[in-house]
């Protein structure tokens, strides 16, 4: 930690500065609730889109399922905090926590088994995982229910505001982990499909999730989600601090992955799958890892989104909206983290903000007439996105300095080769 380079300092300093400016503007009251919400939505979109950029921009997997995982995160995290604040029960928390842990254990255990069964096809592996996860998740529901009262008493011993914040943060993280585990199960067989077919299957995932949410009260048995009428009563806890904190965290994690050997392996899959395989990269494994990480970000963002308005509706997770993160990623520039973040905020500010304000009364519906036109013009003018490959210094890969040419004998052999 002694030799932090300049770009890191700038990044951290800049982040703190942006956070403070917005926070002060909001606290003083210069920034209205309207714009405050839009900024938070922008940050949430940035997290979802960063996940998608990892999957599509860096790993090359054309996924339209991001929105489905976003929905899963939103509803699961929202349900946990709803139960805590409205029903004074930590049941949602304990069951989801145990479920996520148990399913994780099941996945890890079965992964060892599958690795032992060399060459097991993806569908069979999926079957094994499914059985394991369902069994352990059932166990988790039973045990989690039993744990409810002890956890209740622990949380109630804390000051209410503290326990509320704890439940919130844990719920958001659990939303992400839940989405990640589902994405692992779903991705296992589906990631074997070719590019466009994978896209369509993941689009299907989004549609299926939306339909399930439409029937969440009748078919899934979550009465508080109220199906197609929309879930209300989720505490509004996503402050600018929390979204910004998670956004910065996600940016740093993304950057650290990308700037490592794992990141290079992820990108090599996008560049040329066969060459990657021939170079010792376990392509199937990296597709899964990337898909899971990307979906984790989506779930995380979903959890944050649920606590902005305190209201969730299945129509928000409509498959048509599922193109939004894709549009943002392409807009910002595929494979550019900077571009994705910038495009997310631009998207929220323009579409949700300016277009609502600029259009005169009676012309609100024109918003979605102007939006696609903007989309068209932008695509025609900048088909590679606003930022192309540009990254801000902190996110840029730095080339290592050339080796000092000391080993003269090695240079001699170089010349031999070239001669």
């Amino acid at each position: 930690m002694k030799n932090i380079d300049k770009s890191t300092l700038y990044f951290i300093g800049g982040s703190v500065l942006i956070f403070l400016i917005v926070q002060i503007l909001v606290s003083v009251g210069i920034l209205s609730t309207f714009w405050y919400t839009i900024l938070r939505i922008g940050a949430v979109m940035a997290i979802v889109s960063l996940g998608l950029n990892l999957i599509y921009g860096f790993n090359g997997q054309f996924s339209l399922g991001q929105w489905g995982f976003y929905a899963l995160g939103a509803y699961s995290a929202g349900d946990v905090t709803y139960r805590w604040t409205q029903l004074q029960s930590s049941g949602g928390l304990t069951i989801l926590l145990l479920g996520v842990i148990m399913a994780g254990i099941a996945i890890l255990l079965i992964r060892r088994l599958v690795n032992k069964l060399r060459g097991l096809d993806a569908l069979s592996a999926f079957g094994l995982y499914l059985i394991g996860v369902i069994l352990l998740a059932y166990l988790a529901v039973v045990v989690g229910g039993a744990l409810e009262n002890p956890v209740n008493s622990i949380l109630k011993a804390l000051p209410p505001e503290v326990s509320k914040q704890i439940v919130f943060v844990v719920a958001v993280l659990l939303g992400g982990l839940f989405a990640a585990e589902i994405s692992f199960l779903f991705g296992l067989p589906v990631l074997t499909l070719g590019s466009d077919y994978f896209g369509i299957a993941t689009l299907g995932f989004t549609v299926i999730v939306k339909v399930l949410l439409d029937n969440s009260d009748t078919m899934l048995g979550f009465a508080e989600m109220k199906g197609a009428r929309g879930m209300i009563g989720i505490p509004k806890m996503t402050t600018w601090f929390w979204v910004f904190f998670f956004l910065v965290l996600v940016v740093i994690v993304t950057r650290n992955i990308l700037h490592s050997s794992y990141g290079r392996a992820i990108v090599s899959v996008r560049e040329d799958e066969i060459a990657a395989k021939a170079m010792g990269i376990d392509v199937a494994n990296f597709k899964t890892i990337t898909f899971v990480i990307g979906s984790f970000f989506a779930g995380l963002a979903g959890g944050l989104y649920a606590h902005i308005n305190g209201f969730l509706h299945p129509d928000t997770f409509n498959f048509i909206k599922s193109f939004d993160p894709m549009i943002i990623v392409v807009f910002g520039g595929l494979g550019s983290v900077t571009g994705t973040v910038a495009a997310s905020f631009a998207w929220a500010l323009v579409l949700e903000g300016f277009l609502r304000l600029v259009l005169p009364e009676g012309f609100e519906t024109w918003r979605f007439v102007v939006y696609p036109l903007l989309l068209l013009i932008m695509m025609l003018l900048k088909p590679n996105g606003l930022f192309g490959n540009y990254e801000m210094p902190f996110l840029r890969q730095v080339l290592p300095p050339l080796r000092k040419k000391t080993q003269s004998n090695e240079n001699a052999t170089d010349e031999e080769v070239l001669a």
Binding site: N256, S260, V267, E271, A275, M279, G280, D414
Partner: protein
């Protein structure tokens, strides 16, 4: 079946392929192909277009699953293993139509091949801890050293697709070798090269064989390369082996001439040769 070690492990044979066949639908791309490679040998695989040479490569490297047959690498049957596992066991290859990671830098192309030896976990990478930084630095230096061997050191920041053709070929070989293989498969390394570049390539192949103690199997159409550097040659036609031997033996083999020039050609060439020697 997969992890069976062969009892008669002949240490001097690094690769033994027997009865290898591949069917594509009804088409027999490769039929009953046999090949044994001695350690540290340099063998050529030649044959007319569509003879099944690249299919053999694809089966050895695990990209295609053979319909039948065994591939024993260092005493272990590698049929059914994934390509990345085969690579990690010590077989690396290049491709007929160069397959670099086109939008990545030269350095990253090589560093990707080092991934199996990275030595840190994903958690280390995310935490950006000291272990990660040390290993990453070591890995990068190793990759740079490697580039230096191939004279690509100054090109490390260049995007791979922007390199001139000859350097792309060289980078592809460098990348294959970065995986630290014992056996290197080269698929038409001289394709598209001019005579000067070809000579350079032949020197390079000799050089890497000595320096990295490699066994090399190469597919090549340029007879100058094949005859010039290979110790033994295997000739394929219509998916089958039609001849085997030293370059000299192959050159005069009538079946080979027939395969390349069509039936009757061997008699013609015999006549031609007699005329020449007279």
């Amino acid at each position: 079946m997969s992890n069976q070690t062969i009892s008669t492990s002949q240490n001097d044979f690094i690769l033994q392929v027997s009865g290898l066949s591949k069917l594509f639908g009804g088409l027999k791309a490769v039929n009953n192909f046999d090949l044994t490679l001695k350690s540290h040998s340099l063998t050529g695989l030649i044959g007319p277009n569509g003879a099944g040479k690249t299919t053999v490569f694809n089966m050895i490297t695990g990209i295609y699953a053979p319909t039948a047959g065994e591939i024993i690498f260092q005493g272990q049957n590698i049929v059914g293993l994934e390509p990345h596992e085969i690579n990690q066991m010590g077989i690396a290859r290049t491709f007929q139509n160069i397959r670099l990671f086109p939008n990545l830098t030269v350095l990253d192309n090589v560093r990707i091949a080092y991934h199996p030896h990275a030595g840190y976990s994903m958690a280390d990478a995310i935490l950006h801890n000291r272990h990660f930084l040390e290993k990453e630095k070591a890995l990068t230096e190793q990759a740079q050293e490697f580039l230096a061997v191939f004279g690509l050191e100054d090109r490390q920041g260049e995007i791979a697709k922007n390199l001139p053709y000859g350097e792309q070929r060289r980078l592809e070989i460098a990348r294959a070798l970065a995986a630290e293989p014992q056996l290197l498969l080269l698929d038409e390394p001289a394709a598209g090269m001019n005579p000067a570049e070809t000579v350079e390539l032949m020197d390079l192949i000799h050089f890497i064989r000595e320096r990295f103690n490699l066994t090399i199997l190469l597919i090549e159409h340029q007879m100058r390369v094949v005859m010039g550097i290979c110790e033994t040659i295997t000739v394929m036609d219509f998916g089958e082996v039609i001849a085997r031997g030293t370059p000299r033996e192959i050159q005069s083999d009538p079946r080979v001439i027939e395969a390349y020039l069509g039936p009757g050609a061997s008699a013609l060439s015999e006549k031609f040769r007699r005329k020449k020697t007279q």
